[in-house]
């Protein structure tokens, strides 16, 4: 089972190291970990994609909550939610291929953000599956470089509890 957990953490030095160290030392399988600031400079948000059964999920959650600098942990995937991943991908593209790549990028609502004589860079965001589909489409052209942010997620609507 795949779960998305979101944790509000105190924005203090070492908190990322503490959390990633805990996850590693307890042997939890983390697919993705993203950290960024929130609207409150005192707090950061971490988003985890955890793979495991309900027991694993519940242990990961409790172990996270036990860390003093972790303020709150939510299981985003137990609610209706939106998940996004941002990717930059550089594809080998001689001039005659640019149009083709641009067309595909359009279909995926990506956009070309850099063009050089032999390559283009595409920026694309969306759910994991869409990103992966786009990667597969680009493979035949020749992927030169690829960078992804990992998953961020948010619950839909305004459930105050979350």
């Amino acid at each position: 089972m795949r779960h998305v957990l979101s944790a509000l953490v105190q924005n203090v030095p070492g908190v990322l190291s503490h959390i990633s160290g805990m996850l590693a030392s307890r042997g939890y399988n983390i697919d993705s970990l993203v950290v960024g600031e929130t609207e409150d400079p005192q707090l950061s948000r971490m988003t985890f994609v955890v793979v495991g059964d309900d027991n694993v999920l519940s242990q990961v959650r409790k172990q996270l909550e036990k860390i003093i600098t972790v303020v709150q942990v939510d299981d985003i995937s137990s609610h209706e939610h939106v998940e996004r991943d941002l990717m930059l991908i550089k594809i080998a593209a001689p001039p005659d291929m640019r149009g083709k790549i641009g067309e595909l990028a359009d279909i995926f609502r990506g956009r070309i953000v850099d063009v050089s004589p032999d390559a283009v860079m595409v920026e694309i965001s969306g759910p994991e599956k869409k990103i992966e589909a786009f990667i597969e489409l680009m493979r035949p052209f020749g992927i030169l470089e690829l960078a992804r942010t990992g998953r961020i997620a948010m619950v839909r609507g305004c459930q105050k509890d979350i």
């Binding site: 030392s25 172990q63 909550e65 036990k66 003093i68 303020v71």
Partner: protein
């Protein structure tokens, strides 16, 4: 120790002098004083000197005990904490001083002991440059502390140290490390001792069983025919031993404790089944195996208790009352899990619980208890270790006594034969199993209880690991007693070699390598043979008195002599190494695999 001072509120005195700029080092010490600290176990060095200088300005309020190794200081702080329930404070310099504390922190974390460790750090301008005696100790210690701080702003010191006290002593207690760079210790600032804590993610005091949960526990007890209480260190941390006693008195439920729970319930009570688990009593393990209800109180289903988890208490419904939510369902799924402070939960439960009819169950348990007691060979011509511990127990049980142990066979035998009647009389590195724990822990207990008898029951391997603390005892005037059970072997490892490795000796003999025993070719160490090292000569070198015995007739008088001695005293009892700790349930096994002989 002055309990009055300890009880004072955490509000700082409004001394106008404190409105003056004060050095970071003085703020550290003042904050310790504000939190009732009366003893600090501290080994100085370059990066912690300013705090030591500050401590000299508080001589009337804080005693500084100089251990002879930082690990000794850390375990002394634990001895202080384990026997008082108050926080134990230790301090080291940066680098090697701080890394020498790592084992103590890991130990305190596993046994949930409230401890504050302060380490000096190299100056903030050179942090990260591999400076002399620099280690990133906070990075090293993240996973072995409850929390940790690197202070980089002198304005944060008072708040951080207060937070450290709060975190270490509340909820599930544990060790907190505060790392303070030397230049921060020197900086001057007008301190705010009441600066609010910034702990938005730390919510304690809310762990309270609901009335519904209490009723559910009472209902399960009412319906039980073969209930057993399995109580652990949580009983002691939450100061709930009176409530536990009341629960047993009210319900008549037999009770077994973990090694951490010893003393949480009187060991000489008829319903006490002693310790359970790998070296627990036969009757405790039978009772748990046959139980239809297991009431787990302040425990974490450690592998030394459960053996093979799927077989543990597999006929029982499980109630688990525990303050740390992450322990619930971690190893064993509870039928009723209650996240609560134990003292509160037991008090509420005692108000409504009714006694089930346990006549049949009592009869069964009493037969096991009668038929399968702990026993040892009384016919041995010399002194077997169990006998020495049993005699020490008889000689000290009616005195005001605190007992510490190292790790190994002697530790298990003490857990089996010393029946603790009260909590906080017993110091044992239980979760981490740190050899060398006993002597320094005894030092800490003696500092906290100067008028009490404090005895470290130790093995030769363990004692040697922190033997330098003998100097602390002599120089700091801390007259602890050590009863050393010397078998010249790492007895517990030898036992496993005997049982699981065809008695092949693999570096478990502690004498010279050219002795036949080193390779297992000897036929026992004879009483005529000189034991190595000459512990009595070593002790005398440190200023101790001592005596070595190997004859049965000398045991009781020698114990009396040790108790009566004025200063620190070592009683070496030369014992055979062939004894095994029994009963034994091998690792990851079940009651069916229990070894009795």
């Amino acid at each position: 120790m002055n309990p009055q001072r300890v009880e004072t509120s955490k509000q700082a005195p409004t001394d106008p002098a404190q409105q003056n700029p004060t050095s970071g080092a003085d703020i550290v010490v003042q904050t310790l004083v504000n939190n009732g600290v009366d003893a600090v176990f501290a080994y100085p060095g370059g990066a912690s000197m300013p705090i030591h200088q500050a401590l000299t300005r508080f001589r009337d309020q804080v005693r500084v005990i100089l251990p002879r190794h930082e690990q000794g200081g850390g375990f002394a702080a634990q001895g202080y904490a384990r026997t008082t329930g108050k926080i134990g404070v230790c301090m080291t310099t940066s680098g090697p001083g701080a890394t020498n504390l790592v084992t103590c922190l890991a130990d305190a974390k596993l046994d949930s002991i409230p401890m504050l460790a302060i380490s000096g750090q190299v100056g903030t301008t050179v942090i990260g440059t591999d400076a002399f005696q620099e280690t990133p100790i906070v990075e090293v210690c993240r996973s072995v502390t409850k929390h940790h701080y690197l202070v980089t702003d002198v304005n944060d010191i008072a708040r951080v140290v207060r937070e450290a006290f709060h975190i270490a002593t509340t909820g599930r207690p544990g060790p907190v490390l505060v790392d303070i760079p030397k230049n921060i210790q020197f900086q001057m600032v007008v301190p705010d001792y009441n600066a609010p804590m910034k702990l938005p993610g730390y919510r304690v005091g809310t762990e309270r069983a609901t009335p519904r949960e209490i009723e559910a526990i009472a209902a399960m007890i009412r319906a039980a025919k073969r209930p057993v209480i399995y109580a652990g260190g949580g009983i002691i941390s939450s100061d709930a031993s009176e409530e536990l006693r009341a629960l047993v008195a009210k319900t008549g439920i037999p009770i077994t404790t973990t090694i951490m729970g010893l003393g949480g319930f009187p060991g000489d009570h008829p319903l006490s089944l002693d310790m359970l688990g790998m070296h627990g009593s036969v009757y405790a393990n039978y009772a748990v195996d046959n139980a239809d209800l297991l009431i787990a109180l302040g425990v974490r289903f450690d592998d030394r208790v459960t053996g093979k988890v799927s077989a543990f208490a597999n006929k029982a419904k499980i109630i688990h009352v525990e303050i740390d939510p992450s322990e619930i369902d971690k190893i064993k799924r509870a039928d009723l899990a209650v996240c609560s402070d134990l003292k509160y939960a037991l008090r509420e439960l005692n108000a409504i619980v009714e006694a089930p009819d346990l006549t049949e169950w009592h009869r069964k348990v009493a037969v096991w208890k009668r038929d399968e007691p702990f026993h040892y060979n009384l016919d041995f011509p010399g002194i077997v270790p169990q006998h020495a511990i049993h005699e020490l127990y008889k000689a000290t049980k009616d005195r005001d006594t605190y007992i510490s142990v190292g790790v190994g066979q002697h530790q298990m035998w003490t857990a089996q034969y010393y029946k603790f009647r009260e909590p906080r009389r017993w110091m044992c590195s239980s979760g981490l199993g740190t050899m060398g724990f006993g002597l320094p822990a005894a030092v800490g207990a003696k500092i906290a209880h100067p008028d009490s008898l404090v005895i470290d029951i130790d093995g030769d391997g363990s004692l040697l690991m922190n033997i330098q603390e003998m100097a602390t005892c002599y120089c700091e005037k801390v007259p602890v007693k050590v009863m050393l059970l010397n078998n010249m072997h790492l007895g517990m490892v030898v036992q496993w070699e005997d049982r699981f490795h065809a008695a092949n000796r693999a570096h478990t003999y502690l004498g010279p390598i050219d002795h036949p025993e080193a390779t297992g070719l000897g036929n026992g160490i004879t009483p005529q043979e000189r034991y190595y090292p000459d512990f009595i000569a070593v002790a005398k070198g440190f200023g101790w008195s001592g005596r070595s015995i190997s004859a049965k007739k000398d045991l009781v008088p020698a114990i009396e002599e040790m108790i009566a001695a004025e200063g620190p005293y070592l009683l070496e009892v030369q014992v055979p190494y062939q004894e095994h700790v029994l009963p034994m349930i091998p690792s990851n096994s079940t009651v069916q695999d229990l070894i009795k002989e």
